[in-house]
Amino acid sequence: MRFLLIEDNEQLAEAVVDRLMLDGHVVDHAPDIQTGHDFTATTSYDLILLDIMLPDGDGRTFLARHRKQEESTPVIVLTARSEVADRVGLLDLGADDYMVKPIDFSELEARCRAVMRRRGGAAQNLLTLGNLRFDSLSGTLKLPDQDIQLRTRELRLFEVLANAPGQVFSKSTLVDRLFSYDEDVTENAIEVYIGRLRRHLEASTVKITTIRGLGYKLEVA
């Protein structure tokens, strides 16, 4: 996905960009509202992450102008303020969602997914692998004779593997991607989800293979 991050704190912006790039996203960073408008005028983004307190104004002014220009790019506001009143006002102004700093990136991912789903997601989210089509928004695996609805973790595991077929993912990487930091999980927990996915994929030409000592990879026959 292509993100635009509008955030004036350089350190935080740098860290967020690094973090999102780890998941294979492309991120542009704008330090103020004006630069943000310049970016949106020339590039089309999948999602805008917007800070509220910016040097050249309030993030709300960006939101208002963004909506006035009938830009459809969803906006998730990052706020440091705890005032729920603020957050409710943000949604009224046209923000799709808000998150309170510090950001939990797996939560951000979940919120992006929810926003996309609410926006009625487009067909480009349909991924074809062998005889299988995968709709990441609704979380369904479309097999020739049946549709399988994945649960959230199965969906995210499949998404990680299917976005890079052939690439080996270690158990620890998968734990990072699947579980939030406040859950105590052992790497063996991954095996449960791999097992479930394998059962769902039995009728397809897609296989998850175990590379002993290294991890798992997805293969298309």
């Binding site: 705890s82 005032e83 929810a114």
Partner: protein, 458 residues
């Protein structure tokens, strides 16, 4: 809020001083009327006595050196006409007794003044005595003929008693009328104070505008200091609101930097020890940011509770929105979150607080539910009010800690290794109680906990 100690009452003091002065006035009026009446009665009696004495004196004839007195009937009958008084007389020539009551005392002339009067006792009765004299030339030379007439006072006393009763009645009537007037006066004097009191106490909780209505000049200093107090209060409230927002900003932004960098480093590292250390760091950061967040939330809640708004809240919409907003977080943990039974309900209150309370309950439920669990939210209505209940299939609460849980910073025994500050239930409880409702925590028979918020129908 403590009730100020009342020390005395202006109205009572005003009423009492008005009544005391009225009582003094009534007594004075009584005595004045009585003394005037006595004086008038005495004067008229004196006049009659004088007239009677003079008519006796006028009838005195000198014939051949002898004094003859033909006692005129009218002289004594005019005295009789006053009342049933007994009348006495004495006629003397110088000191020689001529006729009448020899023992009757004589009013001593005061120099040349005639007539002279005297109050004295005669035959065991109080009498008023008048004496007139005239110079007569007799054989023995010129000498004074003195006529003394006296009358008892019992009739006059009765009259005076009647007058005194009447004046007492007048005094009492005057006093009663004054009591009514004093009550009216004291009430109308206090009325501006009452008006000020009701105009201040009728205000909405956030209304800190100065009092603008005109007040009597004596109350201007009071109202001026009240206005200045309210201005300072408003400033300090605004400062604390700003402070909460500012503190949140200052704490969260650096935490966000540290957490994100730690997450990047953790993802990049292959060393299990480093990864473990970084994971623990991130959890500690989450812990402190949650605590900071809930403390600030709690401060915000306390602040808003002091100034509870009374807006109409569509509970069904609020439940729906809050559940939707929580769903991504629950999905992350593979926890199903559903609003099942949602009836239509509208209450009066602060929507932000109620949303915060429900958010905290859902946050708790998601946090303490194991992967694969279910959280069901319901909004039901009865005659008593509306109930939002959050049912989960988690471990439930230990029965011996159900009462302790909503206290600040209390955490259940089965919450090891889960990030949380323990303020969530406290916030929810304070919010629902501020709206006149109650929070109930129970364990479901089939396992799992049920936390419900009952809002009474307004």
């Amino acid at each position: 809020m403590s009730t100020p100690v009342a020390h005395g009452s202006i109205r009572r003091r005003l009423l009492l001083s008005l009544l005391a002065s009225a009582a003094v006035l009534a007594i004075v009026v009584y005595f004045v009327v009585q003394s005037v009446a006595r004086q008038v009665a005495q004067e008229s009696q004196d006049n009659v006595l004088t007239a009677s004495a003079l008519s006796i004196l006028d009838s005195a004839r000198l014939s051949g050196g002898e004094i003859s007195i033909d006692l005129p009937y009218s002289a004594l009958s005019m005295l009789d006409s006053i009342s049933d008084e007994r009348v006495f007389y004495a006629i003397r020539l110088e000191n020689e007794f001529l006729s009448g009551y020899a023992d009757l005392p004589e009013a001593k002339e005061n120099g040349a003044v005639s007539p002279a009067y005297l109050s004295a006792m005669f035959l065991g009765e109080e009498v008023r005595v008048a004496t007139v004299r005239r110079r007569m030339s007799t054989d023995t030379g010129r000498s004074f003929l003195k006529v003394t007439v006296a009358q008892t006072l019992s009739g006059q006393k009765q009259t005076l008693a009647r007058i005194s009763r009447t004046s007492m009645g007048i005094g009492a009537g005057f006093f009663l009328v004054w009591v009514l007037l004093a009550a009216l006066i004291s009430r109308s004097t206090i009325r501006p104070l009452d008006r000020l009191t009701s105009s201040v106490s009728r205000r909405g909780p956030k209304d800190l505008r100065p009092v603008a209505a005109p007040v009597p000049s004596e109350m201007v200093p009071l109202v001026a200091s009240l206005n200045s107090f309210m201005r300072r209060l408003q400033q300090s409230l605004m400062r604390s609101e700003d402070f909460i927002a500012e503190a949140a900003h200052r704490v969260r932004t650096p935490l966000a930097v540290v957490r994100t960098k730690a997450e990047v480093a953790q993802r990049k590292s292959d060393d299990p020890e480093t990864r473990k250390a970084l994971r623990e760091m991130i959890r500690a950061i989450d812990d402190s940011s949650r605590t900071a967040g809930q403390l600030l939330d709690h401060a915000m809640v306390t602040f808003r509770l002091d100034h509870l708004a009374r807006e109409e809240i569509s509970l069904h919409r609020l439940v729906h929105d809050t559940v939707e907003r929580m769903r991504p977080t629950s999905e992350l943990k593979d926890v199903t979150l559903e609003a099942t039974e949602v009836e239509t309900a509208v209450i009066k209150g602060d929507p932000i607080l109620v949303q915060n309370a429900l958010h905290n309950l859902l946050d708790n439920a998601v946090k303490y539910s194991p992967s694969g669990a279910e959280i069901l939210v319901a909004l039901t209505t009865t005659d008593d009010g509306a109930t939002i209940s959050v049912n989960d299939t988690g471990p439930g609460f230990q029965t011996d800690e159900l009462d302790e849980l909503p206290k600040r910073f209390a955490r259940g025994a089965n919450t090891q290794d889960i990030v949380g500050s323990g303020l969530g239930l406290t916030i929810a409880k304070e919010v629902v109680e501020a709206h006149g409702g109650t929070l109930h925590i129970t364990n479901n028979p089939g396992g799992g906990a049920c936390v419900s918020l009952l809002f009474p129908s307004s």
